[in-house]
Amino acid sequence: MSEPVLSARGLRKSFHSGDAMLEVLRGVTLEVAAGESVSIRGESGSGKSTLLNLLAGLDAPDSGTVLWGGTPDTSASRRAAYLGMVFQSFYLVPELDALANVLLARRILGGVDRAARERARALIASVGLADRAHHLPSHLSGGERQRVALARALMNRPNLILADEPTGNLDERTGNEVVELLLGLCASANTALVLVTHNALHAAKTRRSLTLTAGSLGGA
């Protein structure tokens, strides 16, 4: 059996809350196989974003391990190639147009050649924004911005995409479109997806649905 794309074991994370310590994650274990889509639901403050940050290597757990493809290297340089991230607030660079925002992921990985430009254009087209490739984020709607963010996340052909409530700032219809697009693009690229969401309907569209309760992940 092949190595899981993502493997988290016994993740614990606490934060100071005044004088007290608040234990947000209490030994979370998760494995995601190649091309698999997993959703994580939970109440606000349940630690979903904290878990995603640990899985992305953006934060260090108090204990436990995160392996990407069986290796514990979650450094920034590896993240650029291995992971794509999608956020609730899109986080596009306002000075760059849609195409340049998509290409930024590749620039950070190192070098933009003709093939990279063509891939960025193809991705922009695949999210339905071919005619808006040279528009600045300020000239795009919320749904369009999130589509650009999806294209950027897929730019480096990552093994895994971590999406943190990508529909949180979108209306229901646009949110549904974005999730359909995200699942479709991941499926076609055989990219694993971890989708953090409040929305039960969106969660139901993933292959596996998990719930984070009292700092522990449970299957649904």
Partner: protein
């Protein structure tokens, strides 16, 4: 192009948008500093350059002097002219005199010129505005215009000359008479100090006045173009006896040049503070940028950017502001220099102070000379200071943890 340079350029000059206000202010601050530095240093350099020009034009590049009078000057001139790199040499006699016209006295230096060789060494003829050097004989002088003006003497007038020798006779209770000479020309060099204190006559006249016989006080030397002055001085000294020494014009005026250089260095140092203050403005606007873009910096980390590259993105913005500010400042500075005389004359005309300007200024025009090394120093220092100005924001940006930056409001 590395992503951090690309992003730095895009943040300073966003696609499809006008020049951002913060960028404009930062660039203008640096440009202003560079403009002032270029203008002031060029004008100060112009004074030094003009002084060199005037000294070389009136006294040659090398001056030969002895402890006392040089008696066999003809053989010294011959030896000096045989030195490689020497174009010509001319003897002179020079001392202080009192000149009197009517009841108006003046106390200039009278310089006796060897008319057969003086124009091979100096460009004095160029500065004679009335008459010419050819009009000089042993009973005539050419006055600088300010001496002529203070005496009220014109060409054709006769003036009395009292030399130190005559004054010595006076102290010995001997009978003495001043030397009566005609004014045959007026000279205007354009340097207030020279124009207010020099009278020119023949070598014979000066020898008579100073009781030198056939001796002279010194010899002026012109070098062939491109010859290094210090090397030529060393070669000349090799053919001269120990009692006679050659000095380059820089050696002869070393104290004056040292003061001039000190002034230039002090002014440069003080004006550099304009660039330093501008650099604080760059730091301040980049710090604001770091605060405004905290979540974008978090995003860069999430996309896999290394902190050192995030830092370089902001440092590069300081560099680009420095480069642009320097280029704009140089352009503005050279433009200001090109119209400097029009501006000065306009101010003098409006304030009706043209005469005051001419009387108190060393030169009749505002001189300017921009040396390549000064411009290079301004460019390097400004760009380095601007880049350093980006270091504090860069350091702050690099220290931001992506997870905290993404969470920031």
């Amino acid at each position: 192009m590395p992503w951090y340079l690309h992003l730095a350029l895009r943040q300073l000059f966003p696609t499809g948008r006008r020049f951002p206000f913060f960028t404009l202010i930062s660039v203008l601050g640096v440009a202003l500093g560079v403009t002032v530095l270029v203008v002031v240093m060029s004008i100060m350099g112009g004074f030094a350059y003009e002084i060199r020009h005037l000294i070389v034009d009136t006294e040659g590049e090398v001056q030969i002097v002895a402890r006392g009078p040089v008696s066999d000057y003809a053989s010294v001139v011959k030896r000096v002219e045989s030195v490689p790199g020497v174009a010509a040499a001319t003897p002179y006699a020079r001392d202080a005199v009192m000149v009197k016209f009517g009841d108006k006295p003046a106390f200039p230096m009278l310089r006796g010129l060897d008319l057969s060789s003086v124009e091979k060494v100096t460009q004095l003829g160029r500065y004679v505005v009335v008459g010419s050097l050819d009009d000089l004989d042993d009973d005539s002088v050419i006055l600088s215009d300010q001496i002529a003006s203070s005496l009220g003497a014109n060409v054709g007038d006769s003036i009395e000359v009292y030399s130190p020798l005559i004054i010595n006779k006076l102290s010995a209770d001997a009978v003495f008479l001043p030397r009566l000479v005609r004014v045959v020309g007026i000279l205007h060099i354009g340097h207030q100090q020279l124009d207010s204190s020099t009278v020119y006559g023949t070598l014979r006249l000066a020898q008579d006045l100073y009781g030198l016989g056939t001796a002279v006080h010194g010899i002026d030397v012109r070098l062939t173009p491109g010859v290094n002055e210090d090397d030529a001085v060393a070669r000349i000294n090799q053919v001269l006896p120990e009692s006679i020494r050659a000095f380059s014009w820089e050696d002869s005026f070393s104290d004056f040049l040292w003061v001039l250089n000190l002034e230039r260095s002090m002014i440069f140092f003080l004006l550099l503070f304009i660039v330093i203050v501008a650099a604080f403005s760059v730091t301040s606007s980049l710090l604001i940028s770091v605060v405004r873009k905290t979540r974008e910096i978090g995003l860069l980390g999430a996309l896999g950017a290394r902190p050192v590259h995030v830092a370089m993105c902001f440092c590069a913005q300081g560099l680009f502001i420095g480069v642009l500010g320097t280029a704009s400042g140089l352009a503005a500075g050279f433009f200001a220099l090109s119209i400097r005389n029009n501006v000065v004359l306009w101010v003098a005309r409006v304030t009706q102070r043209q005469e005051v300007l001419r009387r108190f200024y060393q030169f009749s025009e505002l001189p300017s000379h921009t040396s390549g090394s000064t411009v290079a120093l301004i460019i390097v220092l400004t760009i380095v200071i601007s880049t350093l100005a980006g270091m504090i924001p860069a350091w702050r940006a690099a220290r931001l943890k992506p997870v905290e930056a993404l969470r920031s409001e």
